[in-house]
């Protein structure tokens, strides 16, 4: 036990003391939002600045000023279609929108066709959608006017609905549920586990490989049992990951609490502006300052509705389980090969279940209690990611318990298998390693 601790301590301290660790730990929670903000900034700026010419040949004469789209500079022209096409080429315009003559006085007619868009290269899907909706809303308003209904009546016909959903527990206690938030938490925690397996798994592998290539391993195993060395390594690297995670949680927690309280104060317009980008302009205009506060209150209520303690506890458990399970396998691979290049061929079968889990996560989040979700949340190789995706939506206790038991059995199993390969592998130099030799090492008496 003391040996494991000594190995753990070394693995932990050598990593945590590195400057790169400090940088990565402090900067990552800041870098991700920064990257997203930068992308959003450039994307919006680009849209504003880019105004490629788009010719509009409007033979109906109904669509003047109909296109309130900043992506393009709409230029109305006249004449025949063939001439207009020629003009588009001559002027070097990006495209040509052709609107034919049409009948708008027939209240029965609802299908309008014959609009044509000619472009040099494919126009973006969103631009086409917006053009379609511009045309549609113009036609709709013309038809509404023709129908003789008053504007007020029409406005009052447009109602807004919000559906509050609740989870009813057996004790009859109704808790406000929120699918979007569950989705976000499920995806976030699952993804975090996925990321950590990759990052810290390969760190374990690297660490084993370093001991092997620097030839210190034989000195070490003359003092430490190979299994203890492996476990010390897995635990030490894991502790580093845990430290990093903890710092991230604290940082993100502090930052978002600060952010929320600023919003609750109703002061910062900048934040509201940022929020408005996610919302239809109409809705934002309708919002009064008191409604802003109501929205913040709602967010806070949503957060309160999440079983935070349960999710955190489960996350801890599945995070550790996944880490042990895969960490041991990474250690075994590191022990078997002489270089990172040789490791590639053994990585694939290990990465496969992780990839399968992350790829099926959307289906799982869509149907958290479906057959696929339940099955994958039981298999130890995929359960940490999939179970974390399911938990925010509510998982029957027996399933959670079974999944946990299976995961423990799973990681005990892989640690045992990995330990057997490891104890032989670390002392093998220059051996030609394939799955057969690894199998041989596994069965070998040492």
């Amino acid at each position: 036990m003391n040996q494991i601790f000594l190995v753990l301590k070394r693995e932990y301290l050598t990593r945590v003391k590195k400057k790169t660790f400090l940088l990565a730990t402090i900067l990552t929670p800041l870098i991700f939002p920064a990257i997203i903000l930068t992308i959003v900034y450039f994307a919006t700026r680009e849209k504003e600045s880019r105004s490629e010419e788009l010719l509009v040949l409007d033979q109906s004469g109904l669509f003047t000023d109909a296109f309130d789209i900043t992506s393009y500079d709409f230029q109305f022209i006249e004449g025949e279609l063939e001439a207009a096409k020629q003009e588009m080429t001559d002027r070097g315009a990006f495209g040509l929108l052709y609107i034919p003559k049409m009948e708008v006085n027939d209240p029965e007619k609802i299908n309008y066709a014959g609009f044509e868009l000619y472009t040099k290269t494919n126009a973006s899907v969103s631009a086409i959608n917006r053009m379609e909706s511009s045309i549609r809303s113009r036609l709709e308003s013309i038809k509404l006017q023709n129908s003789g209904l008053e504007k007020e009546v029409i406005d009052n016909l447009r109602v807004r609905v919000s559906l509050d959903s609740f989870n009813l527990s057996e004790t009859g206690e109704a808790k406000k549920s929120n699918s979007e938030l569950s989705f976000a938490i499920g995806y976030g925690t699952g993804f975090l586990i996925y990321m950590f397996i990759f990052i810290y798994g390969s760190q374990i592998m690297q660490s084993v490989l370093d001991e092997k290539t620097s030839r210190i391993v034989e000195v070490i195993v003359s003092s430490v049992r190979p299994f203890n060395l492996m476990m010390g390594k897995v635990l030490g690297v894991g502790a580093v990951g845990f430290t990093q995670l903890l710092i991230w949680f604290v940082l993100i927690g502090t930052l978002s609490t600060a952010g929320l309280s600023i919003m609750a104060g109703g002061g910062s317009e900048a934040i509201m502006d940022a929020a408005s980008q996610q919302m239809p302009a109409e809705a934002m205009q309708a919002m009064e300052p008191t409604q802003q506060q109501a929205m913040v209150a709602e967010i806070q209520e949503m957060i309160a509705s999440i079983p935070v303690v349960k999710i955190l506890a489960c996350f801890l458990f599945f995070f550790l389980g996944a880490y042990f399970l895969y960490g041991a396998l990474y250690a075994a691979i590191g022990s078997a090969v002489d270089s990172i290049q040789d490791a590639q061929q053994f990585m694939f079968p290990i990465i496969l279940p992780i990839l399968a889990a992350i790829m099926s996560m959307f289906f799982v989040l869509d149907d958290p209690n479906g057959g696929l979700a339940v099955t994958m949340s039981m298999i130890p190789f995929t359960s940490p990611i999939i179970m974390m995706a399911r938990i925010p939506f509510g998982v029957p206790d027996w399933q959670l318990a079974l999944s946990m038991v299976l995961l423990v059995a799973g990681f005990v199993g892989t640690i045992w298998v990995a330990g057997r390969v490891y104890r032989v592998g670390i002392l093998m130099y220059g051996a030609k390693v394939n799955w057969k030799t690894i199998g041989k090492w596994f069965t070998m008496k040492v």
Partner: protein, 300 residues
């Protein structure tokens, strides 16, 4: 008293037998040469003693006690394939290795200071291993092996890669450790260092122990009763028990190899004195190298 007894050790790998019924006894405070060509099974035996791998059959006793995990503190092992953590500082590294052997932090600190001083490496304690020269790194490895003052030192090819100055330094350290009570197992196929250092040897070839015992006795048993003699006069009329060969003249002296037939050196000398004026008389004792080659070649 033997510090180590290995009885009937057998170890099989998938396709070959690494050790076949090998027994050795290593007397306390000896420098014990474990000899054998590459692939003979030396490293396997050493790894079994270090509890890195387990013997299929046989038992090992250390100071009369069956080998068990606590004995790792008694043994200091310098493997042939050796290295250090490149990115770790010298002092921290020695501390880690000492603690793994069960030394307390304060005791380890004292001894590290002492040994770095002794090897003239004090100012390197805070440097990373990758900044050290190869020779310095090897000294650090040696320090790591002896820090916990092991009763039994196992050195596998300790001089490979050392320059002559450092090799001598390590040799002196080995003698001193022996004088202080340590026992040294010295595995090598470089015979000249065996000749200098070892008082006991064992020869392993093709997984089996061929011979072992005090170096002197082994050399005696391989004696061919040959004497190299230089003399004045003509060596004629020797008794039929002796024969002279390879006679040649140099600087006014004749040199011959006298082959005796089991007589003592004095008897040979008496016979010679009665015939010629003897200037030098040396018994030709086979070197360990000769014995080694003779046995290994003979086995083929």
């Amino acid at each position: 008293m033997n510090i180590l007894e290995a009885n009937n050790i057998t170890k099989n790998y998938a396709v070959h037998k690494a050790l076949d019924d090998v027994s050795i006894s290593i007397p306390k405070q000896s420098i014990f040469g474990l000899l054998g060509p590459n692939g003979a099974g030396k490293t396997t035996l050493i790894r079994i003693i270090n509890q890195i791998i387990m013997a299929d059959e046989g038992e090992i006793f250390i100071n009369g006690e069956r080998l068990q995990p606590k004995h790792i503190g008694v043994i200091g092992y310098l493997p042939e394939e050796r290295g250090l953590y490149k990115k770790m500082k010298v002092g921290e590294q020695l501390m880690y290795l000492a603690e793994l052997k069960g030394l307390s932090n304060s005791e380890a600190r004292k001894r590290i200071k002492h040994w770095l001083d002794r090897m003239g490496l004090t100012e390197w304690a805070g440097k990373k291993v990758e900044d050290l020269s190869k020779g310095m790194a090897q000294k650090i490895q040696f320090i790591a092996t002896v820090l916990h003052e092991p009763d039994l030192l196992i050195l596998d090819e300790p001089f490979s890669g050392f320059d002559p100055v450092n090799a001598n330094l390590i040799k002196d350290e080995i003698f001193e450790l022996r004088d202080k009570g340590a026992t040294v197992i010295f595995s090598t196929h470089r015979m000249e260092s065996v000749e200098q250092l070892c008082d006991h040897i064992a020869l392993i070839n093709k997984s089996q122990k061929i011979l072992d015992g005090p170096k002197k006795e082994i050399k005696d048993s391989f004696k061919l009763h040959k004497y190299s003699v230089s003399y004045k006069g003509d060596l004629v009329g020797l008794s039929s028990n002796f024969s002279a060969s390879e006679t040649k003249e140099e600087d006014g002296l004749n040199h011959s190899i006298i082959q005796a037939n089991g007589q003592s050196p004095n008897e040979v000398l008496q016979e010679l004195i009665s015939k010629v004026e003897v200037h030098s008389f040396i018994e030709e004792v086979p070197s360990v190298n000769d014995i080694f080659i003779q046995i290994v070649e003979g086995e083929k």
